[in-house]
């Protein structure tokens, strides 16, 4: 790493994209469904070997010592490739939590295991989202309470019920603690940081998945001919795609800004804005992508559905557009009352 955020980010984006194009393409997605196990230890091992899992772990512990500011492109790529792994939950939220509670006796060992690809983390933000993504695969579930307490539960302390997920490649579970768990620490600041990261990270992935829908649609309407011309040359088609593309472009701007300096007072605000907007833009992308693919888009054989379902699943995760909109509106009204 060079120490220059922009340069490091570009390098990281390139490495990630190369890895995902090679090992997490459509064939991989289909294979995971066929074998009936979404999480792939082989792919996860590659993430570990490339250093992706230890990106946020401090250098003296063998990590890359990067910050979330380096990660918008990586998370965007995870969405763009519909990667069926809990990267955000483990490498971003898990690593941040263990680093933040580094005084806890288990943290060092957990960070080491996480970096090696031997610890999968599930995240429960109970006040925002009751479900835990990859809950059945998680070696540890972190429950992050709004008041600031972060509790770790081992699988044996949990009742985990896998649910019928809208996106088969983003499995979700209902998780009920059966034991006391182990409190990593209590800090409203850290809990807010984790929540902000979850929301901002989901926004980045959502923007990436929506971008894939735009690209696939542009490609499809450019080759599909009707009335002796590509259907993409008809204005009715073009204008729909243009509207979707504007939304996705802006969602990318907001998502990148959300992962900017997280020490700023408005970090949580930026994350909520990004998630609310990305959900709105992705919803539009979902609707028009399927519409413009016609019958082809409805087939299991064609791969559009992976991204249609990914944006649906991510839109519902870590606070919906409506949740964030209303909370932001209430914040604004409260802020105005204080000013008077």
């Amino acid at each position: 790493m060079t120490g220059n955020v922009d340069t490091d980010r570009r390098q990281l984006d390139e490495v990630t994209t190369e890895l995902l194009e090679r090992y997490s393409g459509v064939d991989h997605l289909r294979a995971r469904i066929d074998v009936g196990a979404v999480h792939s230890p082989e792919l996860w091992r590659r993430f570990a070997d490339t250093g992706l899992l230890s990106a946020l772990i401090q250098e003296d512990r063998g990590g890359a010592g990067l910050t979330p500011q380096h990660l918008p492109g990586v998370l965007h790529a995870m969405g763009y490739h519909a990667v069926p792994e809990p990267f955000l939950e483990t490498a971003v939220l898990g690593a941040t939590a263990f680093e933040a509670f580094s005084d806890h006796p288990e943290s060092s060992a957990r960070l080491e295991a996480l970096a090696e690809g031997e610890l999968i983390v599930g995240i429960r933000l109970s006040h925002l989202d009751p479900y835990v993504v990859f809950g059945e695969d998680a070696d540890l579930v972190l429950d992050i309470e709004a008041e600031g307490r972060v509790t770790a539960y081992r699988p044996e302390e949990l009742e985990v019920e896998g649910l019928n997920a809208v996106d088969p490649l983003r499995p979700v579970a209902r998780v009920t603690p059966r034991g006391a768990g182990e409190v990593l620490g209590t800090s409203p600041r850290i809990a807010t940081r984790l929540r902000t990261l979850a929301v901002a990270g989901a926004a980045c992935q959502l923007a990436g998945a929506a971008r894939r829908l735009v690209d696939m649609t542009v490609e499809y309407v450019s080759v599909r001919h009707q009335f002796d011309r590509p259907v993409g040359s008809f204005q009715a088609v073009k204008h729909k795609i243009a509207d979707v593309a504007v939304g996705v472009d802006m969602a990318e701007a907001a998502a990148a800004s959300a992962l900017g300096d997280l020490t700023q007072d408005d970090a949580a605000h930026r994350a909520a804005v990004a998630k609310a907007y990305a959900g709105q833009a992705a919803d539009r992308a979902n609707v028009e992508a399927l519409q413009l693919h016609g019958g082809t888009g409805f087939t299991w054989e064609y791969h559009l559905h992976f991204w249609l379902k990914r944006v649906m699943s991510l839109s519902a995760a870590y606070g919906t557009t409506t949740t964030h909109r209303r909370a932001l509106a209430q914040d604004l009204l409260t802020h105005m009352n204080k000013e008077q």
Binding site: V218, S222, S233, V237, V246, R326, L333
Partner: protein, 406 residues
Amino acid sequence: MMATKGTDVFDGSVDEFRTQVRQWLSENVPAEKLRPWTTREGFDQHRQWERTLFEGGYAAVDWPVEYEGLGAGLRHTITFAEEYYRARAPERVNMGGLYLLGPVLMQYGTEEQRRRWIPDLLSCSTVWCQGFSEPGAGSDLGSLRTRADRDGDHYVVNGQKIWTSMGGFADWIFALVRTDPEAAKKRKHAGISFLCIDLRSPGVEVRPLTMVDGTQGFAEVFFTDVRVPVENVVGKVDQGWQIAMSTLGFERGAVFGDHAKFSNDVAALAGLVRQRGFTDDTLALDELGRVLVTTEVYRANVYRLAALSEAGGDLDRTASINKLYWTEMQHDIFATGLRLMAEEGAVIGDPGTIGRDDPVTAHAWQEWHHRYWYARAAMIFGGTSEIQRNIISERVLGLPKEPRPS
């Protein structure tokens, strides 16, 4: 106190500059709200305000120092705009001159043209309007027919321009005219020149058009044998189309800092939600939240484009996306406001009916209606939303071109 010029002021953080601008604005922004610029009295007040800005050194903070600007970089330009809107300073009435013609003169003009027009433009002694659209040339601007025939060292201009913003108040017009009407037979965009015309010339007739809201914001401009010196052509004769495309790019591209204006509007909207007693109404909160989110996303985009520009990136591809986004967002703000006014939306309220302490004061209902209609206009001027969608789909996304009529 005059603003300090030059790069050394802008090397450091923006904080010092922010303080300086805030101080100046607090001392200079008129306490009384100006009359609307669509009236003669209001226009003169706004022109006076432009003069005050000029004298303070703040007429064009991002213009290069050699043209009497402050030479500010993008971060400082954004900071200035943020402070400008925070102070709720008057609407600018010289944007066409400053941000459309100004850059054209810097890029394509001669030294003599710059000396002649820039100082008066900057001090707002001369107000400029844009003469592009014609009755038969709107979205299809290349079909324009106003012609300029060479006669010695003059052009003789005949034709008509329309939808000319501020046409009723402007002193000069920068217009697209056909200097080689024959060339159009081969290629529509050939033979067009960019010509500056004094609106006081004999043969010019300006007829203000009354807009839907009853104001006279735009006009028709007729030219009958108007004699214009040949040295008023900017750039090369017959090659005005390229310049026109650059000015449209300026018009569509990011106005760095205008997110602060929209934040004021959202604050006003929040004031309206409270005033109407909708603070616990989930639908009203959803509407307010949606508008807040779109304006905050716009802010993120302004900063992204500033960073891109500072890194030497090309903003051309972003202009149409930017224009389509902000015009739709702006419409959403004001249309949402009218919806939230509920039954009061049927009445154009007297500014006096709203309490002085309410943020809505700055957006008296009358002004809300004015801004609403402006928002509708913005989806048409500078290239309609439909034209922007064509550009985005063909030039940004690379979709196949629509077969052109032969």
